[in-house]
């Protein structure tokens, strides 16, 4: 098992490096001249030269990349923001927390809503409840979350006045709408996935056996079906998490959440490429780590993967034992 974890982490490192290199290349190709952005309109040739030397922009691309990677890995330094002239990481530290907090809450909300709904609609297949849930998830999958956010602002903030339209005002209540609106699409996707994986599991032989040996419906669902149905949902939730964090770029702008997403758009408009670079890298690395964790956790839960690695080096035995769904 340790071997699996270590090998997964080792595979992750080149991925992270490749992402950094690609994003770095992209950010250097973006239009506009950062030196000019800092100096404004009045500058002499000498000033320009000095500034670009100080920012390291006069060196060849590969050297810049090398310096950037060195600073990033060794000193955890993302460079200096072109607009605020402060280290990028200092600007981002509090914003990072906000974005990840909202993302985590959205993901929790998704699980809390999607899992029960998915179970109910699968267990009561073709009932009114099932159709209701399916209708809801189809609808939610079609509504763009930024539009839902705008509609919520009109309803809850402007008409009813229950919640503030700007996240920073009104303490925790300001974060209700960003969290909810960020999760709508994920709830729809996860519900549908869980419903279909649950339906797969319910028709398996071991389910019939469980019922035949006299277990109550509740017990067969909770003890036998749910365990196997939730396994394929874990990677779905992982992807949804990274989608939510990515989607926060749009939602944070609407509610003026002081997070990385709103900062990203401001930095793009202000041509502050070091910040753009830092935010993209942070979010990507974060989502890589989340996906890695999901993989490792599923490996620990899934007896098939576990068996495969436990038996390595020892005597071979057939991995398929007990109540493991074939998944199809």
């Amino acid at each position: 098992m340790l071997r699996y974890v270590v090998s997964r982490i080792l595979i992750m490192i080149p991925t992270v490096l490749a992402v950094i290199i690609i994003v770095f290349a992209l950010s250097r190709m973006m239009p506009g001249d950062p030196v000019r952005t800092i100096l404004g309109s009045n500058y002499t040739e000498a000033q320009y030269k000095e500034m670009s030397e100080r920012m390291g922009l006069d060196k060849p691309y590969v050297v810049q990349l090398g310096n950037y990677l060195y600073n990033l890995v060794v000193k955890h330094d993302f460079g200096i923001s072109y607009t605020t002239s402060r280290p990028v990481l200092d600007d981002l530290r509090s914003r990072m927390k906000v974005t990840f907090l909202i993302g985590t809450l959205s993901c929790l909300l998704t699980s809390c809503i999607a899992i029960p709904l998915g179970i109910i609609s699968a267990v009561r297949q073709n009932s009114v409840m099932d159709y209701g849930v399916s209708f809801l998830s189809i609808l939610m999958a079609a509504l763009p979350n930024f539009w839902v956010a705008l509609m919520c602002i009109i309803l809850f903030c402007l008409r009813l006045g229950w919640l503030p339209a700007t996240a920073a005002l009104g303490g925790w209540r300001g974060y209700i709408l960003p969290v909810v609106c960020n999760g709508t699409l994920s709830i729809a996707v996860t519900t549908r996935q869980l419903r279909s994986s649950m339906l797969d599991v319910v028709s398996q032989d071991y389910e019939r056996t469980a019922r035949a040996k006299g277990l109550s419906e509740r017990q067969t669902i909770i003890n036998h079906a749910l365990k196997n149905a939730l396994l394929p949902i874990l990677p779905v939730l992982g992807t949804q998490f990274s989608m939510i964090i990515g989607g926060s770029v749009v939602i944070e702008n609407i509610f003026s959440v002081p997070g990385m997403g709103s900062k990203l758009v401001n930095s793009i408009n202000g041509r502050d490429y070091n910040t753009v670079l830092a935010i993209t890298i942070l979010i990507s690395v974060f989502s890589i780590v989340v996906l890695l964790l999901v993989d490792i956790v599923s490996a620990f839960i899934d007896p098939r993967v576990k068996a495969e690695f436990a038996s390595r080096g020892k005597k071979r035995r057939l991995p398929r034992t007990g109540e493991v769904a074939s998944g199809r």
Binding site: P14, T15, V16, A18, V19, I22, V23, L26, S27, M29, M30, P31, I138, L139, A141, A142, L143, P144, F146, W147, L150, M151, I153, I154, L158, R195, S196, L199, D200, S242, M243, I245, G246, G247, V249, V250, N253, I254, L264, V265, I268, N269, V276, T280, I283, S284, S287, I288, L291
Partner: protein, 298 residues
């Protein structure tokens, strides 16, 4: 059910030995899905609107009329007017044109690039597969929206630029889809048979592999068109993507957001247009999936 199928299913492009009966089966299964048929009509409606926007619109979408700015919906202006007195209904019709065009372009680009990668990986296997899948792994690890935002910022605003930005996010999905489909097909007996009687690689791919990939590809195109429309409007909404003077739903929402406190129509109607087209593509795609791939239930 075999009498009335002739010529009906031309657009589906499912090729098989018994051409009529296969398309007939698909159509039969599809028609049983009332919701999917509704989705199909929404998609057709969208296509018609996009094609005939100039004929359907009652006003020029960029005709400025400051006297009638910010009018609420009326018989004159069904969806009201915007900040500059332009007719929102006409602008939504033209916006559909932009959205559909950009979504299609993006879809094509990602299908060509991602599809080629996936096909190569699936067909060649071994080292090619490992190498290509590493690239896909890297692409997957950056959230699609983020990647689209960065590329959009890099390329600037515009139809082509946005199509490219949106397409990048779709590449991994296409690649993985085609790879797994081809993996499944590669080991089938009919491929073995074709190779045995001396077909070359290209012939095997064109004659035997590709036709059997059509079903998942068609489903994927439909579903990703919806996703692309969402992504495009999202980009335009935050000020990247397609920008004025080109009319686009997301950009309209962005303008509407500035007056959200006093004037709701500018925020409500463009969003509805996005939602309805997403709904159409999603339902149509789901129905197609059930019809084309009867093995997969639920």
């Amino acid at each position: 059910m075999s009498e009335n199928e002739k010529g009906v299913g031309d657009g589906l492009g499912v090729v098989g030995l018994k051409r009529h009966s296969q398309i007939g089966d698909v159509l039969f299964r599809f028609r049983k899905h009332k919701v999917a048929v509704a989705g199909f009509f929404v998609v057709v409606l969208l296509a018609v609107v996009a094609a005939f926007a100039p004929a359907l619109a009652r006003y020029n979408p960029s005709a400025i009329d400051p006297v009638n700015a910010l009018q609420f919906p009326s018989a004159e202006h069904w969806f009201g007017t915007d900040l500059f007195g332009r007719d929102t209904f006409s602008r939504i019709l033209y916006g559909g044109r932009t959205s559909l065009l950009v979504a299609l372009l993006g879809c094509l680009v990602s299908m060509v690039i991602g599809g080629t990668m996936g096909a190569l990986a699936g067909y060649k296997g071994d080292k090619v597969d490992v190498a290509l899948m590493r690239i896909i792994d890297i692409m997957v690890s950056v959230p699609g929206v983020l990647l689209a935002v960065c590329i959009s910022a890099l390329l600037g605003a515009g139809v082509w630029q946005t199509a490219l930005a949106v397409s990048v996010g779709g590449i991994p999905q296409n690649a993985l889809l085609l790879r797994s489909t081809i993996f499944g097909i590669r080991s089938q007996d009919y491929i073995e048979a074709a190779k045995t009687y001396g077909s070359r690689d290209l012939r095997v791919i064109v004659k035997h592999v590709l036709p059997n990939c059509m079903a998942p590809l068609i489903i994927n195109v439909t579903l990703s068109l919806g996703a692309n429309i969402l992504m495009i409007s999202g980009l335009s909404f935050i000020g990247l993507g397609v920008q004025p003077p080109t009319v686009e739903w997301g950009a309209m929402l962005n303008e509407g957001q500035t007056v959200i406190r006093q004037f709701w129509p500018m925020v409500v109607f463009p969003g509805m247009a996005i939602a309805i087209s997403m709904l159409g593509f999603n339902l149509f795609g789901d129905g197609l999936r059930d019809a084309l791939d009867p093995k997969q239930k639920h």
